[in-house]
């Protein structure tokens, strides 16, 4: 459909196929490398080879035997999920109002959200560090959930606004005319229409919160709330003579695989979400 009526000659097709292969290798190469590193035996870690000679799961056993990584995984999952739910909920209210209601200040809200999306997090970690320590939010879940929620709200509002604009809202009235109650109309007509946009937004917000490193290192200090990116960056070997390379690689694979699976399953939606706000905005 995108050939736009132009016939592709053989050379172009060969060229494009090569392009496809190169792109796939480009994207997956570091993932394959870290996977192969994580499967090497400790003794083979320094063999300078791309693929492991002997496959071993010792590093996976090691990271799950320790308390640090499971704690970080739990923190990451909990904090990212709660921040995502809150951000999407608040953004839904705002996006609904922006799309459906007439009120002054819409432009300011969208413009303000956009400028916050460009905000450098380094500019606020000093104040947050200082205040969080005095009000007891330092090294706690809410201490990270709060900034993640706020930093992802712009993304959530823009994406949801773009999706909500596409929804035929009049169907609600039509359903009511046909005898549906307000709740039925919402449950059977509007909710299914809005769900894909909400879901896509949730994925994008989750990836953002799951990825953050700066706030996580600045605002946590122990297993209490330290998330995976911060934990991996500060991994230490089991003895002072051993570099934690194997453990780092194994932990990286564990946190990367779910995202890779999610991305592969929901690729169409993620692409739609990423481009909806930014270009057509």
């Amino acid at each position: 459909m995108t050939a736009t009526g132009m016939k592709q000659n053989t050379m172009e097709r060969v060229f494009l196929s090569c392009g496809v292969v190169i792109v796939v290798i480009y994207a997956l190469f570091p993932v394959v490398w870290i996977l192969s590193l994580s499967l090497k035996r400790s003794a083979d870690l320094n063999d300078n080879r791309l693929f492991p000679g002997t496959i071993s799961l010792e590093h996976y056993r090691a990271i799950f035997a320790d308390i640090q990584f499971p704690a970080a995984l739990w923190n990451s999952l909990g904090i990212a999920s709660i921040a995502t739910s809150l951000a999407v909920l608040l953004a839904m209210f705002a996006a609904y109002a922006i799309v459906r209601l007439r009120f002054p200040g819409k432009r300011w809200i969208l413009g303000g959200a956009l400028s916050i999306a460009m905000f450098p997090p380094i500019a606020i970690i000093g104040p947050l560090f200082n205040v969080w320590r005095s009000v007891g939010l330092f090294d706690t879940w809410p201490g990270l959930i709060l900034p993640y929620m706020s930093f992802t709200l712009p993304l959530a509002i823009w994406t949801l606004t773009a999706f909500f604009r596409e929804i035929p809202w009049d169907l609600d009235r039509a359903a009511r005319v046909d005898g549906a109650t307000a709740f039925q109309a919402f449950r059977h007509v509007m909710a299914p229409l809005a769900a894909p946009g909400v879901f896509t937004t949730a994925i994008l917000v989750f990836i953002f919160a799951w990825n953050d490193f700066l706030l996580a290192t600045a605002l946590t200090s122990t297993n209490n709330a330290r998330t995976v990116p911060a934990a991996i960056a500060f991994f230490t070997g089991s003895s002072r003579f051993e570099l934690p390379t194997g453990s780092i690689a194994a932990a990286s694979v564990v946190v990367t695989l779910p995202i890779v699976v999610m991305v592969l399953v929901f690729q169409r939606r993620i692409v739609a979400g990423l481009t909806a706000g930014a270009v057509k905005g």
Binding site: A3, G19, N48, R49, I122, L214, T245, L274
Partner: protein, 291 residues
């Protein structure tokens, strides 16, 4: 005003209020607080010595070689990564746009770098270039200590950034590419324009808004670079970025006054970049929001 319109207006504000409040609480208020803190001599290790010093913190930041060095480093990384990303991103977008089979695999594959945690990507490349664990030296027959030499460290840092964020660039550009009407390209072809002419005379000009938006997003993102540098060099060997300097002053050395001055300067840097793009290049990102 009719009561109905008035109540609609109130409901609109009410629905937006929680989101606006949350955004202001974690951005506007802290940046004002950072401005305030930056006017004090305030070291958390010696909190009793807190004293108002006016602009002295700014003078000492702007008078130090470390700040200008890190600003230069940040600009090098930003320029290096964003330029290559634009070219690669355009190529990728064209492949995705024109490829007949394998479109789905390409799209799925390029989302992988986007989804991967930056710290993990930085570590993967760090290990790849590391002389003891890595394969790069063995593959190229080199004995280069990549991350302990300034320029080769920049090479690895920029490579990591490019790998991780080109997909995002490509997707934004692809969205712009789909807005180029096929009829126009066909007409140009009939009139005898070759592929290169069609690309530079029709596709590129029509994509200009999308390119500028993508460039703005990525430039600001690259200017804030922290994760990759922190993981790969910790800012050693003269590779510190401005965010690393801010982090080290605030969190490692606990000097809130001086660190806040760095933070405010980074914030102003972001502001200047955004203004240059919006005023200078006429980037418009709020098109059609009256909807």
């Amino acid at each position: 005003m009719k009561p109905r319109a008035l109540s609609e207006r109130h409901l609109g504000w009410l629905l937006c209020a929680p989101a606006v409040a949350a955004m202001l609480l974690v951005t506007a208020w802290p940046i004002l607080y950072a401005c305030w803190l930056s006017l004090f001599h305030y070291d958390l290790r010696f909190p009793e010595q807190r004293a108002f010093v006016g602009l002295a913190n700014y003078l000492s930041v702007l008078g130090s070689g470390i700040w200008w060095q890190s600003l230069l480093n940040t600009l090098i990384v930003t320029a290096g990564s964003v330029t290559v990303e634009l070219v690669l991103g355009l190529a990728l977008a064209l492949v995705m746009h024109r490829a007949v089979f394998g479109r789905r695999s390409v799209r799925a594959a390029i989302l992988v770098p986007y989804g991967i945690i930056t710290v993990v990507a930085a570590l993967a490349w760090k290990f790849a270039f590391d002389p003891t664990t890595g394969f790069v030296n063995a593959l190229l027959g080199l004995e280069q200590p990549w991350l302990t030499d300034r320029w080769s460290a920049f090479f690895v840092i920029i490579l990591t950034e490019i790998w991780k964020t080109t997909p995002f660039m490509a997707l934004l550009l692809l969205a712009g590419l789909t807005l180029v009407p096929g009829d126009l390209l066909l007409a140009a072809r009939v009139d005898g324009a070759n592929a290169l002419q069609r690309f530079t005379r029709i596709t590129l000009p029509l994509m200009k808004p999308a390119i500028l938006v993508a460039l703005l997003f990525r430039t600001l993102d690259a200017f804030r670079i922290f994760d990759t540098v922190y993981v790969q060099t910790r800012g050693a060997h003269a590779t510190e970025s401005v965010s690393i300097v801010g982090y080290n002053t605030l969190i490692t050395r606990l000097n809130l006054g001086l660190g806040s001055a760095v933070s405010v300067l980074v914030f102003m840097g972001v502001l200047i970049i955004a203004l240059v793009f919006i005023k200078g290049f006429g980037v418009s990102m709020t098109r059609g929001d009256e909807g």
